[in-house]
């Protein structure tokens, strides 16, 4: 006697233990009839066989239709052969009916997320996913930023949970869906009833969500029912259709979850008066934004700062005051850091895509990559104060035009380099206005002393100043011991007098070789300025008006660097022409970033 023969009698259609009932309680197949007189004819056998095959085919087709709408996919496991059209349509209808009451994927996710959102702080729930691959257990909670924290355990495959299932995937899917007629139903029932074998639910879990997907699959539904019943505060969620990803909803939970709190990009703001750096946020995503949401921000970099920029995505919260200025940069809730390659454009757009809560990707400009660095480390590198000006600037470049042509050309070259650099860096009209002043020598001769010696180009665009510079040509030295630098200071003072009232910072660059004329004849016997200009008073006036002066001398002796005119005037920066550059001068003027003062994060446009 075979083992099969030792098993209790089973329904030939659904495999359920038959018992003594006349009809199968599950599939309704007539198990016993009253005896009828007469022999069992071939015709009778054939009729019986045909009816049994049809019943078996109907039973198996139902399972096959649950797995796939493709009639031929699982035909080989359908007893009674390939269903005809009518039978298959009926099977599909029955399959759909089996999933009645099940939720679609999105609402199911929403239900799960709602359950997670309602979790008391610090507690966690367990999500038991019963799917085609097996049973998975995930411990779920929300972090303080509202981002799901999902700790998934590996899915236990059905082959381990119910060893009597087929090792062939297609057949096992057929069985999971309900093609169980050939299985030992009693043994199967015992396996499925043993919840602790199926999944281990932590005792400290606040709730258990049992997710059955796809709904209607017989073994899955039965296991889910047992687990939901066995878990404390268990909730059964039936989800129609196959999982979009993985074994259930958890795979897509992160993507589907809407934001609970706003995300922003960390930007730096420069205080106009002090240059102090404070951090603020520019909004990227709002609560409710979900996967795929996009945000575009217009930002800028400090002029001259052409190094890589770090984009820091942070969660807005209590660390920012009402105007978005961060009080404590270290307390920012930074989600992720990204490195943006150096850009030529001083003003640029970034486009961010919300991939999932806690996951933002930048798609514009190209080349932005995740940065493996901590926010505290990044924040520590942001200077507390910078010299570069945040707002609109008026710059006057004043130069001595007298001297040897090569030397005058070197002075002009420095200014030209600076203006070209600034023209590239300041693309906003009006952000930078540049004026030019050039002086020729005073001529100490009757009738000539009172002739104007300063040529001027009014404040305008850097491009206009560049054009005008070409006409600031060199002149002969007419007086050896001094140049009318005091007249340059006087004119610069006049040109920049209105800047402050217009909300503009003012800066002066002076490039020259000689000292200025004194106001009165001194021991050095240098002729006083015929216009009675007093360079000391003018320099003090410029300083009092908040106009820093950067001075570049053709030759700068050690003594001149610490005493006298050059030291007094060049308070914001003092350079020797041969040893300086447009970038150094620009940094001292505060119109371009100083190399040692890289802000490293974007500025608001």
């Amino acid at each position: 006697m075979s083992s099969a023969d030792q098993r209790p009698r089973a329904c030939p259609v659904c495999g359920r233990q038959a018992g003594r009932a006349r009809d199968c309680a599950e599939c309704g197949w007539t198990l016993q009839k009253v005896w009828r007189p007469g022999p069992v004819t071939a015709q009778l056998r054939e009729d019986f066989g045909r009816r049994l095959s049809a019943a078996q085919r109907r039973f198996d087709a139902h399972a096959a239709a649950l797995v796939s709408t493709d009639r031929d996919r699982l035909t080989s496991w359908i007893r009674g052969g390939r269903p005809d059209d009518v039978e298959w349509v009926a099977a599909l209808r029955e399959a759909a009916k089996a999933a009645d009451g099940a939720a679609d994927q999105a609402p199911a996710c929403a239900t799960v997320l709602t359950a997670l959102r309602d979790l008391p702080s610090g507690s966690e729930a367990v999500i038991v996913e019963i799917g085609p691959e097996g049973i998975g257990v995930t411990r779920a909670a929300l972090d303080r930023l509202g981002t799901p924290l999902l700790r998934e355990q590996p899915v236990t495959p059905w082959a381990l949970l119910v060893p009597l299932l087929s090792t062939t995937e297609e057949e096992r899917l057929f069985q999971l869906a309900g093609g169980i007629a050939t299985l030992d139903r009693g043994l199967l029932t015992r396996y499925l009833a043993d919840a602790t074998r199926l999944a281990t639910v932590p005792a400290e879990a606040t709730g258990t969500l049992v997710v059955c997907q796809p709904a209607g699959w017989r073994i899955l539904e039965e296991a889910a029912r047992h687990l939901a019943g066995a878990a404390p505060h268990g909730t059964l969620i039936r989800v129609a259709g196959s999982p979009a990803e993985g074994n259930g909803v958890v795979g897509s939970l992160r993507k589907r979850m809407p934001l609970l709190r706003s995300y922003g990009l960390v930007v730096a703001t420069i205080a106009p008066a002090t240059g102090a750096i404070s951090l603020g946020m520019r909004p990227l995503f709002q609560p409710g934004d979900a996967q795929g949401a996009e945000s575009v921000l217009t930002l800028r970099r400090a002029p001259g700062d052409r190094d890589a920029t770090i984009l820091a995505v942070a969660v807005e919260g209590e660390t920012a005051d009402s105007d978005g200025t961060t009080i404590d940069r270290g307390a920012l809730n930074v989600l992720s850091l990204h490195e943006m390659p150096p850009l030529d454009e001083p003003v640029y757009r970034v486009r961010a895509v919300l991939e999932a809560p806690g996951r933002v990707r930048f798609t514009e400009p190209a080349g932005i990559t995740p940065l493996g660095r901590s926010w505290p480390e990044t924040a520590a590198a942001i200077p507390r104060r910078v010299d570069v000006l945040p707002g609109p600037v008026d710059l006057v470049c004043a130069l001595e035009l007298a001297g040897d042509k090569p030397q005058v050309d070197r002075r002009r070259d420095l200014i030209r380099d600076l203006l070209e650099h600034l023209d590239d860096e300041f693309t906003d009209p009006g952000q930078l206005r540049v004026g030019l002043l050039g002086c020729r020598d005073h001529v100490f001769a009757p009738g000539e002393e009172r002739r104007p010696v300063v040529r001027r180009q009014p404040l305008g665009t850097p491009a206009d100043a560049l054009l005008a510079l070409e006409n600031f040509r060199g002149t002969d030295v007419r007086y050896m011991d001094a140049a009318p630098l005091e007249d340059l200071l006087h004119e610069a003072h006049r040109m920049l007098a209105g800047s402050s009232a217009q909300g503009r910072s003012a800066r002066l660059l002076l490039v020259a070789r000689r000292r200025p004329h004194p106001r009165i004849l001194g021991p050095d016997l240098v002729q006083p300025c015929p216009f009675d200009c007093d360079w000391r008073r003018l320099a003090q006036g410029l300083a009092a008006s908040g106009v820093p002066v950067v001075a570049v001398a053709d030759v700068l002796s050690r003594r001149a660097a610490t005493h006298g005119f050059w030291a007094d005037v060049g308070q914001a920066g003092l350079h020797s022409l041969a040893e300086t550059s447009a970038r150094k001068v620009g940094a001292d003027l505060g119109v371009t970033a100083r190399p040692g003062q890289r802000i490293g994060i974007p500025l608001p446009a």
Binding site: F444, A445, P446, E449, R450, D476, V477, R478, Y479, M480, D481, R519, I520, L521, P523, L525, Q527, P528, P530
Partner: protein, 352 residues
């Protein structure tokens, strides 16, 4: 300078006056400024004119150089020229009346001023080659280098010899001694130039004299030049010597004659290089003290802008260094104490 004998009816002829000074002390510039000074003098009767074409040309050319070209006369080259001008003036002289009474009478004077346009080098006690690196004495010379540009070879062909110059000076009745304090500060060679000439004059005038204690008979007007130089002016100002003449609307500074000798002493005392203090001592020793008088002079004077009615303390330097390193006169020429020494000499000689 020499005195012509004879002259217009009633005009008194006076003795000879010689010019004496170290290189770069401003002798040529002084003479060039004389015409301007005479023109600007308050006394209407004061006038100067040449006795021959060469002297007139010298006056015209060098006056134009100062006023039109705003340049200093070129350094004296061994031209060997002898110039002669007549300086006419009026002065009061004592006149003996009856019963031995004396009264002061205004009389016209006419001094014929003869100049052998001599380079200052002749007056050195030891012949030295000039330092090419420091023309005119170097330092802050401010352009009074009228004896610059002399080279050793230029002695060749000159008609002027040291003997002839010394003979001329020794025969003078009055001497105009020019002393450049700025040169003394930088070179310290005033006494060297002075003593050699002094001894040669003494040799010529005193040889054969038997009267013990006898001194040289000349009147000496000692002129400290370059009063307009900022360093000289500041020392006058800081030392309390500076005065402003009440009748000068431009209020140009000056040093009163009664303070001039003391200021001269202060100037030479501030030189750390030379022995110029010996000059004053030697003058007192070799000449009658009442025949030596000091003047603080300036050939070009101080700068005054046309916009300004008077001298400006903040901006008074009347020379400008040009890009090529030379100096040019900046504004109008206002000689200070250029005529006055000659007037004093004339008055003194007339009163003999």
């Amino acid at each position: 300078m020499t005195v012509t004998s004879g002259g217009p009816q009633g005009i008194r002829a006076l003795g000879r006056i010689g010019l004496w000074g170290a290189p770069t002390c401003g002798k040529t510039t002084f003479l060039a400024a004389l015409n301007i000074a005479v023109s600007q003098a308050a006394a209407q009767e004061l006038m100067i004119f040449g006795v021959d074409d060469a002297s007139t040309d010298f006056l015209v050319d060098n006056t134009a150089k100062l006023t039109s070209e705003r340049k200093f006369p070129a350094g004296t080259i061994y031209s060997g020229n002898q110039y002669s001008w007549v300086l006419r003036m009026e002065t009061q002289v004592p006149e003996r009346r009856r019963f031995g009474r004396q009264t002061m009478t205004t009389v016209p004077l006419e001094m014929n001023l003869d100049l052998m346009d001599e380079p200052g080098r002749v007056f050195k006690d030891v012949q030295r080659e000039p330092d090419p690196a420091a023309p005119g004495g170097g330092g802050q010379n401010l352009g009074f280098d009228d004896d610059g540009g002399i080279d050793a070879d230029s002695d060749a062909g000159t008609v002027v010899t040291e003997d002839s110059v010394m003979d001329q000076l020794a025969s003078c009745d009055g001497l105009l001694l020019l002393f450049d304090p700025t040169r003394e500060w930088t070179e310290g060679d005033a006494f060297n130039h002075f003593q050699g000439t002094l001894l040669r004059i003494a040799q010529r005038r005193m040889a054969g004299q038997t009267v013990p204690g006898g001194r040289l008979p000349q009147y000496v007007a000692v002129c400290a030049t370059k009063f307009d130089h900022p360093d000289v002016y500041r020392r006058a100002k800081n030392g309390g010597y500076r005065r402003f003449a009440a009748d000068d609307p431009a209020m140009f500074p000056q040093v009163a004659d009664e303070l001039a000798e003391k200021f001269f002493a202060d100037l030479v005392r501030q030189s750390e290089r030379g022995n110029a203090d010996l000059v004053a001592m030697a003058l007192r020793r070799y000449f009658e003290p009442d025949r030596v008088r000091f003047f603080i002079t300036s050939a070009i004077g101080f700068y005054k802008s046309r916009r300004s009615a008077r001298f400006q303390e903040a901006d008074f330097m009347n020379t400008v260094r040009q890009a090529d390193g030379t100096y040019q006169i900046r504004g109008a020429v206002h000689p200070i104490n250029v005529v006055e020494p000659l007037v004093w000499l004339g008055q003194s000689l007339a009163a003999r």
